[in-house]
């Protein structure tokens, strides 16, 4: 059963089908929120909130609409509400997320860990709207059309935004690498 059919069933009152959608998408949502908040516990709560809202506003789902894009629209709203409520709090990137290091020599592993840490720092320092398009295009593997639907803009605009965001991330990352080297 595809996502759209499952959501139509939820909309029609078969609330149990939400479990199927949760199992398929909770990880992607969690990663999306984790990149935006840098906080695991908050990200898990926001995932819960997304599915709670999907349940609550299931009647607003339009059959024929891509579920993934609709879900991330809900996720985006949930994150915006969270950001407003916690405006005064500054997100501190959590430790962890060791880089995959299987079958690497120890010196290369150390270098990879360093680069991964710098890349995470660079990503965390990005403006939220730019970080968001990188997360969507790279980590969530959303198509530009889907991102456009989530962000409510044209596909062409997404193309430009992703490029600019990746450009800025590259600049930030190599600047950090330069600082470390010097």
């Amino acid at each position: 059963m595809d996502d759209e059919q499952a959501m139509q069933d939820v909309r029609a009152g078969d609330v149990g089908k939400l479990e199927l959608l949760f199992d398929r998408h909770n990880r992607a949502l969690f990663r999306y929120f984790l990149h935006l908040t840098s906080n695991r516990a908050v990200s898990e709560d926001l995932v819960q909130e997304v599915f709670f809202r999907i349940l609550k506003y299931r009647h607003t789902y339009q059959p024929g609409t891509g579920f993934c894009a609709w879900m991330f629209q809900v996720g985006r709203n949930v994150h915006m509400d969270h950001a407003v409520r916690h405006r005064a709090e500054v997100a501190m990137p959590e430790r962890g997320w060791d880089v995959r290091s299987a079958e690497m020599p120890p010196d290369r592993q150390a270098q990879s860990r360093q680069e991964a840490a710098l890349l995470r720092r660079a990503l965390a320092a990005m403006p939220p709207e730019k970080r968001e398009v990188i997360v969507m295009s790279r980590f969530l593997d959303l198509k530009y059309e889907e991102i456009a639907s989530v962000l409510k803009c044209e596909t062409g605009a997404v193309k430009v935004r992703v490029y600019r965001a990746l450009r800025e991330l590259s600049d930030r990352f190599f600047a950090l690498c330069g600082e470390r080297a010097s």
Partner: protein, 265 residues
């Protein structure tokens, strides 16, 4: 200009989403343009670096919490619907269902904080908000049910909302104006009393009086308007009191309502 356009395609190229014709054009340009090649190399390094970052997994308990919320929601609905089949007295069992539902939600969310200390203190306000939202959810869902008894449960659930809620308010108003069942309409009128501070609701209630086809509902609406002392409804009621087409009891009640409003001035 051409470089700018070409570079905008780099992320798509790295993601493997560029069609073959565009990819060929990009490669042809890169062969002749060292600056764009350098850009591609940098972005490629970052793109690959992002891909090698680990993909953190949520705590398995998150799924358990999600299932508990779904179960609580379904239990809330079932308790509302189940009562209908049993034909038991109304208020006591709805109260029990609501209390059980609320307690379950309190348990779910407190349990989530207690069993997983992560340095964050329990946010009681958030918890209350969640319980309130679930009550709202059950209310709205029941109000959309086919069965009049279920919709009556929905109206009763609305009393449990600690704070007036715009969506519930609109759903109740819709029930007053459009529900096919007189009992549901009467209950919805009563439930709207707590929303009486809103002038738009008072106006909507007054507008509903002359268009209702049930004298009982008309009288209930007038009683509520008197209770709310909504003097702005007086012209509508005066017109109704003089309407020869209206039910005799309704006309008499409208006259009484106007009198009460004038006395309380």
């Amino acid at each position: 200009m051409i470089c700018e356009r070409v570079r905008e395609q780099i992320p798509e190229c790295l993601a493997g989403r560029l069609d073959s014709a565009s990819r060929e054009r990009l490669l042809a340009h890169l062969e002749a343009c060292p600056a764009c090649r350098a850009e591609l190399a940098e972005m490629n390094a970052v793109w690959r670096g992002l891909g090698s970052l680990p993909e953190p997994e949520p705590d398995p308990a998150m799924r358990a919490r999600f299932l508990e919320v779904i179960e609580a929601y379904q239990a809330g609905r079932a308790s509302g619907l189940g009562r209908q089949a049993e034909g038991l007295p109304h208020s006591r069992h709805v109260w029990q269902a609501v209390l059980a539902f609320a307690l379950l939600m309190v348990g779910v969310f407190l349990g989530r904080f207690v069993t997983q200390p992560r340095g964050a203190s329990p946010d009681v306000a958030q918890l209350q908000g969640q319980v309130e939202s679930l009550r709202q959810l059950v209310t709205l869902s029941l109000l959309q049910e086919q069965s009049p008894s279920s919709r009556l449960r929905g109206v009763t659930y609305s009393y449990q909302m600690a704070q007036p809620d715009a969506q519930v308010e609109q759903a109740l108003l819709y029930a007053v104006n459009h529900d096919s069942n007189v009992n549901v309409r009467l209950s919805a009128v009563d439930a709207l009393e707590k929303y009486g501070a809103n002038p738009q609701i008072r106006r909507a209630l007054a507008d509903a009086v002359p268009v209702q086809d049930s004298p009982l509902v008309q009288i209930a609406l007038m009683d509520l308007l008197v209770e709310l002392n909504d003097k702005e409804a007086a012209p509508t009621l005066r017109q109704l009191a003089q309407d020869a087409q209206a039910d005799n009891q309704v006309r008499q009640h409208a006259a009484w309502a106007i009198q009460r409003m004038e006395v309380s001035q």
